[in-house]
Symmetry: C2
Subunit: 359 residues, 2 copies
């Protein structure tokens, strides 16, 4: 079966011939990139001066810096990050460990973080931790070797040994998505306990009193449950059902969950599904198994997304600005690295309850 070829339109670059050091005899892809020494020669200074001129922090006279920058432009010099990392013990790579790449919230955070950091001359390297201690430890191990300039976690590191290890790297670290008392370094956090409280408040405020919770058994799931449970108790509402789900891979897991919940709908009238994919999946499934949302069952999710907003009925959520989390994390790391800020930072990202059709 011969496939149909695509007649891809190729575009010629605008003839932007900045450099004449090309097109000499680069037959076999080995036209060696110019080194710092070449720039130094061109600028009439020593290599170390070039190095200094290119790193904002150190002191070089304005005139020299100008000449160096001109030489860099002329030669098209790009620093070798490996050599730099080897000698300085620090790379220009900032590592981001995300719980997953599917949820819009983590995506948004990663995208915003990458944008900020790229503007500051760093690359963001994205990895997944996927909610498992083994993955967490593996991630930390690979960090040790990589010697990243900074680290962003879409969560908090949970194993004590890993916390210690990460702290010892001595680089800026931003944890997020929770609000612990003792972050490793910096924090752009949301309070999961508070989120749970808000969920209970919301349900009871709307006259629901027989509540259910769906979420992970550990980590943020537990925190959300803690808040939910505590506030429910204060309000004299009953938590009839707690369903722990630990390996959510996709929204179709939400379907399974809703099928289960459906058998309880005489006993429960509201469920806080503390996972974005699960909540969306459950809401999608409702019509097909005859559960009327919110009449039979009120559903509240966490973490806003376009899908949540555009579904029918639309999904009510405990929301926060995930892009902001990523952007702020990037800013904190960048400013720490440029020496602008030194103090540890602990920021709180506000939560809001977005009331929509599902609750």
């Amino acid at each position: 079966m011969l496939p149909r070829f695509d007649e891809v339109v190729r575009v010629d670059a605008p003839s932007n011939n900045t450099s004449k050091t090309k097109e000499v005899g680069a037959r076999e892809g080995t036209s060696k990139p110019i080194r710092i020494e070449g720039v130094a020669l061109e600028a009439g200074v020593s290599p170390i001066t070039v190095s200094r001129a290119l790193r904002a922090s150190t002191s070089v006279s304005p005139a020299t810096r100008e000449r160096v920058l001109a030489a860099v432009r002329k030669t098209g010099y790009v620093s070798n990050p490996h050599a730099s990392a080897l000698r300085s013990g620090r790379s220009t790579i900032v590592a981001a460990f995300l719980s997953n790449l599917v949820s819009q919230q983590y995506n948004d955070a990663a995208t915003a973080c990458a944008e900020v950091l790229e503007d500051a001359g760093f690359q963001l390297m994205i990895g997944q931790t996927a909610y498992s201690y083994a993955r967490e430890t593996a991630a930390v191990q690979s960090l040790r070797a990589l010697k990243p300039a900074g680290i962003f976690f879409s969560g908090v590191v949970e194993l004590e040994a890993n916390r210690r290890a990460v702290r010892e790297f001595g680089v800026p670290v931003v944890e997020s998505w929770a609000f612990p008392r003792d972050p490793i370094d910096m924090l752009v956090g949301i309070s999961n306990t508070e989120a749970g409280c808000m969920a209970a408040d919301h349900f009871v405020g709307r006259g629901r009193r027989r509540l259910a919770f769906v979420g992970r058994s550990g980590g943020r799931g537990r925190l959300r449950l803690n808040g939910f449970r505590e506030r429910a108790r204060e309000l004299n509402a009953e938590i009839v059902l707690v369903r722990e789900v630990d390996h959510v891979r996709s929204i179709s897991d939400g379907r399974t969950i809703l099928r289960e919940l459906a058998s309880y709908t005489r006993d429960i009238d509201a469920v806080f599904i503390a996972n974005d994919l699960l909540a969306i999946g459950a809401l999608l499934e409702a019509p097909s198994i005859g559960v009327s949302v919110p009449h039979d069952l009120s559903i509240l999710g966490i973490g806003d997304s376009e899908f949540a907003a555009r579904m029918t009925p639309s999904l009510s959520v405990v929301a926060f600005d995930a892009s902001f989390v990523g952007r702020r994390a990037g800013q904190l790391i960048a400013s720490r690295l440029s020496g602008t800020s030194k103090s540890p930072s602990l920021e709180h990202v506000p939560l809001s309850l977005v009331e929509r059709g599902s609750s």
Copy 2:
């Protein structure tokens, strides 16, 4: 406003005391990682032998390798990738440039690719190209410095100068998401032209004859339009409307598009929306502006996702296995790097038309 703290549950690592070289005097985060020399000492061989034992390719006697591996385990040695990269001119980082991180298809591809490569000892570094020549060029520039072990593009590189530059890196490169005659190196491709043909076939087969197309004006959008247009002509169907959309950021852009299309529904009876976010957005918007899908307007998207499958009505799509693309790309790069395969590879990923409620 004092936020509510999360009482995060910390977990102690299982007391897995593999190494006794710790806990000496590492007061200030500077417990230097062990180097290859330490492993060599432990194993009673020279550093270079350790180096060789750890890189599968080179020849070391089985007995020696065993001793080296034991020493590595005992010392907890992790190779410094920067030193390695500096000396060898090749890093263990494989770069992935994705069109975006929001679409499930690219996500799936990236996740699958990362998984394969991590198993083979590489890290996947994810960047975005976001459909712009400027971004494409910037991406290639950063690659030059990074000297990655391999490169995966969720697309084909379009600027000639960039193609040349990438080819000159001399590392395994996988392009994808299109089926050009002359890939830079390897290809795990889908035929966009074919996708357009299939869309036209589908519509005409269902009795639709007044067609519309929505997609990017360049790149894969154009290819899909080419196929769509060509087949429509062959089948005597009319393409009434072509709407080019170049900066799709989110599904809400699909709403705008559907509003526009709605004013044409007397003239068109089917639309091929050659962008996954746009198609989902359009389908979500339909009820609220009184367009009945598929009665008034038949909608076909491209690239399957869970949302496409679970919406009401569900979205018909030209589908292919995005996870497979990423996985295969990872495999090709890994096997090239381990010396297993040498020849260029050109693979075709089959397309299928998933008929659902929207068409």
